[in-house]
Amino acid sequence: MSKERVVLRVENLKKAFGDKEVLKGVSFDMKEGETKVIIGPSGTGKSTLLSCINMLVTPDSGQIWLEEEEVTSAKNINKIRQEIGFVFQDFGLFNHLTALKNVMVGLTKVKKIEKDFAKEIAMKELTRVGLEREANMYPAQLSGGQKQRVGIARALAMSPKIILFDEPTSALDPELIGEVLSVMKNLAESGMTMLVVTHEMGFARTVSDEIIFMEHGHIVEQSSPEEMFKNPKNPRTKEFLFKLSELYGSE
Amino acid sequence: MWVTLQITFLTLGLGLVLALPISFGQVYGNKWIKALIAVYEKILRSIPELVILFLIFYGFPKIGIRFSPFAAVIIGLGFRSSAYQSQIFRGAINSVSSAQMRAARSLGMTNLRGFINIVLPQAIRIALPPWTNEFTIVLKDSSLAYALGVTELLRQGGYIIATKYEPMLIYLTVAVMYFIVTIAINKTLGSVEKRLAIPGFDVKETVR
C-alpha cells in the first residue's frame, strides 16, 4: 500500500453561479490513505468543491484527476462516479428501499454484480457500520445517525478509491453525531482515502492528516492539525479558529 | 357561445351560493350536519353529471314541476358544483391554522369577526387555484347540456355541420373556442391570484 500514490488531484478549479464566483481557483491533492478535512465559513464553496469532484456540478474551468484518469473531461462520468463515494448531508437514502437494498442497489444496477454476491457485500458493509440488525428496515424507520451510517455503507460497498463527505453530521441531533464520527474514524484508520467537509473540529483535529481552510472560494491555508491549531499562519485562519473555540470551548 | 357562458356562470353562481353555507356547516357544524353534508357530497360526487341532468329533467315533472332543459342543466350542474365547491372552501378554511383563530380571539374578536377579518382573507387565497380549476370544469361540463337538447356551443357546432359538412374542422373550431375561453379564465383568475398573493405565503394547487 504505497503511501505516496496520488489518488485525487484538483487543479485550479473555478465555478461561478450566475455572477457569483463560488470557487476561485482551488488546487490540492490527496494521497492514498490520507484523510483531509475542509473547514471554513458557510457558503464559501466547500460543498460546491465536493460536488465538482464527482461532477454533480460541472466546473467552469480547472481539472480534476482521479489517479490516472482525468475526471473533468471524461467521456463516461458514470463509470468514474462508481469509484468516488459520496455521503450527503441529508443522507440521500432511497425511501422505497430497505437499508440492505439501498446498499445493494449500486452493486446490482450499476456494477451489475450478481444479486447474492451483492447481498453478501452489502451485509458486510452494514455490519461494518454497526447496522446488521437494521438491514431490512426502511429509511423512514431509522434514526438520523442510522440513516447516515447506511449512506456510508452504501458508498463503501462500491469499493471506491476515495469517499467524499459533505457535512455528514450537520443534519443530525447532537447525540447521534458521535456514532457517525466513530464510523468515519474507523474508516480513516483502516486506510480509506477521505475528503470531509465538516464543522466537527474534534474530528478534524484527531483524525485528519491535513486540514484545509477555505474562505470565499480560495484555500486560505492548509496544514497538519497540530500546525493549524497551534500555529495558524494566516490571520483569517486565526480569526476563524478563534470564533469556533469561543463557540465550542477549546476542544 | 353565449349560451355556454350563461350556463357556466349561472351554474357556478348556484354552486357558490349553495356551497358557502354547506362548507360552513362542514367546518363549524355539529355531528348531524356534518354527516348529512357528507352523504350529500358523496352522492353528488359519485353519480355521473349526465345522470344528474337526466334525473332532474325527467324526475321533477313527476312532482309537477316542469323544467326547461336549460333550467335543468343549471340546477343539475349547479348542485354538483356546490358539492365540489364546498369541498374546496372547507379545505381552504381548514388550512388556515386554528392558531390564527386563537390569536384573533385573544385580541378580543368574536368568532364572526375573527372569521371575516382573519380566516376569510387567507382562505380565499388558498381556495382560488382549485376554484379556478372548478371554473374550467364547469365550462367544459356545460357541453353536457347538449344531451338535453340545449343549444349551447357544441350543439351549434352540430347545426353548422348539418349545413356545411366539415365535422372535423367545425368540431376542432369548437374545441379551440372552449380552449380560448379556458385560457382566458385561467389567465384572469391567475392574475387575480397574483394581485392577492401574500408575499412569502406558498399556496398548493390541486389538479382536476
Binding site: R81 | L50, V51, S143, Y146, M168, A175, Y178, R208
Partner: protein, 226 residues
C-alpha cells in the same frame, strides 16, 4: 308505495340489461385507464426530464386536451374522422377519447408526484454512477407511482363517471341501456334513479378497494402527502 313498486319492477325485469351495460362501462373504464396510464407516464417523463422539444410537445398536448371538453373530443373522434377516411365504432372512439383524456390528467398527477420527490434522490443515485435513465426508472418512478395512488384513485372514479358520455356517441354502456329501457316503458325517472344507484354502489366499491390497495403498497414509515 307505488313509486317504490315501479322501481323494484324495473330492477327485477331489466337487471340483465343493466348488468350488460355496466359490464361495458367497466370494460371501457379499465381499458381507458390502463392505456391512459401508459400515455400519462410517457407524457409526465417527457415533461419533467425531456429536453425542450419533448417538454414543449408534451405540455402542449396536455394543455390542449385538458382545456377542452371531453364530449367535444369524442365528437371529433367519432364524427370528425370518418370524412377523413377513418371510421371508428362508437366503442373504439370512446375508448381512444377517454384514454387520451385520462392520459393527460394522469400525466399531470404523475408530474406532481415526480416533482415532489426530492432532487436529492436523483443526486444520490447519480453519485453511485447510475445513468439518468437508470435513476429515473429505478429510484424516482417507484416512489412516484406510490405517491400518485390517491390522485389515481380519483382519476379512476372520474373516468368511470365520464364513460356515461359514450352514450351520446352511441356506445352500448350503462347509460345507453338505460335509455333503451326507458324508451320502452317510459319510466325515465325510475330508470335513471336505478342507474344512479348503480353508479353510486360501484364508485363506493372501488373507492374502498383502492384505499385498501394504498395501504398495502405504502412505504413503511413515510407520511403520505395529499
Amino acid at each position: 308505495m307505488n313509486e317504490v313498486d315501479r322501481i323494484w319492477k324495473i330492477v327485477v325485469n331489466y337487471w340483465p340489461k343493466f348488468l350488460e351495460g355496466l359490464g361495458v362501462t367497466l370494460e371501457m373504464t379499465l381499458i381507458a385507464v390502463v392505456i391512459g396510464f401508459i400515455i400519462g407516464v410517457i407524457l409526465a417523463i417527457a415533461r419533467v426530464y425531456g429536453n425542450k422539444l419533448f417538454h414543449g410537445v408534451a405540455t402542449a398536448i396536455i394543455e390542449i386536451i385538458r382545456g377542452t371538453p371531453l364530449l367535444v373530443q369524442l365528437f371529433i373522434l367519432y364524427y370528425g374522422l370518418p370524412p377523413l377516411g377513418m371510421n371508428l365504432s362508437p366503442f373504439a372512439a370512446a375508448i381512444i377519447g377517454f384514454a387520451i383524456n385520462s392520459g393527460c390528467y394522469q400525466a399531470e398527477y404523475l408530474r406532481g408526484s415526480i416533482q415532489s420527490i426530492s432532487g436529492n434522490q436523483m443526486k444520490a443515485a447519480r453519485s453511485l454512477g447510475m445513468t439518468k435513465w437508470q435513476a429515473i426508472l429505478q429510484i424516482i418512478m417507484p416512489q412516484a407511482f406510490r405517491r400518485v395512488i390517491p390522485a389515481w384513485t380519483n382519476e379512476f372514479i372520474y373516468l368511470l363517471k365520464y364513460t356515461s358520455l359514450a352514450y351520446i356517441v352511441g356506445a352500448p354502456e350503462l347509460m345507453a341501456q338505460a335509455k333503451f329501457i326507458a324508451s320502452r316503458n317510459f319510466q325515465f325517472f325510475e330508470v335513471y334513479l336505478v342507474v344512479a344507484v348503480i353508479y353510486l354502489v360501484v364508485v363506493l366499491f372501488f373507492t374502498k378497494i383502492f384505499s385498501i390497495l394504498e395501504k398495502k403498497v405504502e412505504i413503511p414509515g413515510l407520511e403520505w402527502v395529499r
